[in-house]
C-alpha cells in the first residue's frame, strides 16, 4: 500500500460519519433501533458496541470478497454475511460472557435488520479495500453510537431520573415526596426518541447550513 494507514483521507473515513454524514441524523438510517433501545443508557451503549463489531467485520469480509460476489445476488450475499456474523457473535457471547448476552437479549437480532450495515456494505465495502472499509465501518458505527448515547442519556435522565440505573434526580424533588418534579412518562416511550432525533437533526443543521436541502 502506497498510502500510509492513517492518511488524511483515511482519517476522514472515520470522522465524517460522526458529524457531517452521520448515518442517523444525515442519512436517516438505523432509526428503528435508535427508537427501540434508547429508553435507557446502558442498552444504548451495548447496542452501539455490538453494531461496531458487526459493521466493521462485515465491511472487511465483503471488501475481501468484493471481486468475487456476483452482482445479481450481492444483496443476498451481504445479508448472509451479516446474519452469519451476528449469529457467531451471539453464540460466542452465550458461551463466554453469559451476563452480557443476557443483557443484549433482543438487540442481537436487531443488528441484522440495521439498515446502516447493509447501507455501508452496498455503498462502500463493495468498492473499496479492506482497511478503508474497516475504518468506514468503525466510523459509521461510532456516528450511530454517539447519537444513540445522546438519546439514551436524555431519555433515561428525564424519563426515569437516572443514568445507567443510578438515581440522578434527588428523591426529595419529586412531587410524591413534597417536591416540584415529576418524571416525564413520554420520554420512556418510543415516539419521544423520534422527537429527540428530530431535535438533534435540527441543532446539527442549524450549526452546519450546508446540510440543509433546498
Amino acid at each position: 500500500m502506497s498510502e500510509p494507514m492513517f492518511s488524511k483521507k483515511n482519517l476522514k473515513l472515520l470522522s465524517d460519519p460522526i458529524n457531517n454524514s452521520n448515518p442517523i441524523t444525515v442519512q436517516v438510517l438505523g432509526i428503528c433501533s435508535a427508537l427501540a433501545v434508547t429508553a435507557q443508557l446502558k442498552p444504548s451503549i451495548v447496542m452501539a458496541l455490538s453494531v461496531t463489531a458487526v459493521l466493521a467485520l462485515s465491511n472487511v469480509v465483503v471488501s475481501l470478497l468484493r471481486n468475487t460476489i456476483p452482482n445479481r445476488i450481492r444483496i443476498i450475499v451481504q445479508l448472509v454475511i451479516i446474519a452469519t456474523l451476528v449469529i457467531l457473535v451471539d453464540e460466542l457471547l452465550k458461551a463466554f460472557v453469559f451476563d452480557v448476552s443476557r443483557q443484549l437479549s433482543v438487540f442481537v437480532g436487531l443488528i441484522i435488520t440495521n439498515c446502516i450495515i447493509m447501507g455501508r456494505l452496498e455503498a462502500f465495502a463493495l468498492g473499496n479495500r479492506p482497511w478503508q472499509s474497516f475504518l468506514d465501518g468503525v466510523g459509521n458505527a461510532a456516528g450511530y453510537g454517539v447519537i444513540l448515547i445522546i438519546i439514551g442519556v436524555i431519555r433515561e435522565l428525564f424519563g426515569s431520573g437516572s443514568l445507567l440505573g443510578f438515581k440522578i434526580i434527588p428523591e426529595s424533588w419529586y412531587i410524591a415526596n413534597g417536591g416540584f418534579y415529576e418524571n416525564n412518562g413520554l420520554m420512556v416511550l418510543s415516539p419521544m426518541a423520534l422527537i429527540v432525533v428530530g431535535v438533534i437533526i435540527w441543532v446539527q443543521r442549524h450549526r452546519n447550513r450546508t446540510l440543509i436541502e433546498n
Binding site: P70, V77, E91, L92, K94, F98, V106, G185, V188
Partner: protein, 231 residues
Amino acid sequence: MNRNGNTYTFLYAAIMVVIVAAVLASVSMALKPKQKRNFEIEKKKNILASVKIESNATTAEKIYSEKILTEYVVNVKGDQVDGDAFNTNLKKEHAKAADEMLLPIFEFNTDEGIKYVLPVRGSGLWGPIWGFISLNDDMNTIYGANFDHEGETPGLGAEISTVAFESEFVGKKLFDNTGKLVSILVAKVGQVAPEEHRVDGISGGTITSKGLEKMLLDDFTKYQEFLKKKK
C-alpha cells in the same frame, strides 16, 4: 468464468451456503456444552435470588448445594411424585394435560427459616417470561421473587427483572382470609385491590405486566392443592 452468468451465480450461492452452514453448525456444536452449563448456573443464581441469597457465576453452584434442603416434584393434586425437579422443563409440563403435569418444588434453608421456591412460567409481549417465587412456611406469604424474560422491551417490559419490581412482591399474600386463591394483581393506574394482593405495574409495559399477572394466577392455581396440603 463469466461473473454475471447463471452458472457462476448458482455455484457462488451454493458454496457460500454450504460454508456458512458448516461454520455455524460447528461453532454451535463446539459451544453447546459451555452454553448449557451457563444456563444451569444462571438458573441456580435465579433460584437463590428468589430466596434473597446473592451469588455470582462462580459461587452460584457452591452456595446452591449448601443451601438447598431438598427438591422434588408434585402433581396438581399436591402429591409428591417421581421426577427430577431441577431439570424439569416447565414449557413441556405446561403443555401436558393437568393430571400429568409435573411441578417442581425447591426447599431452601435460609437465615429466616425454610423457604419454598415455586418456578413459574408464562408469556410476556414478545416471548416467554419466567421466574421463581419463594414462600414462607405459611405457604401464603411471598418471601422473595425473581423474574426473567427472553426478549421483553428494554426499559419497558424488561423492567420485570429489576430488583425494584421484584422487591414489590415481598410480603404479598396468595390467599385471602377465607382461604381463596386470589394471587397478585399487577395494577395499572386506577385498578384497586387490597394492598397485600397488589403490586404496581410497569408504565409502558402493560402487556408484560398483565402477562406476569396471568402467569402467577395460572401457576399458583396449579400449585394450589400442594400449598393447601403443606400449610
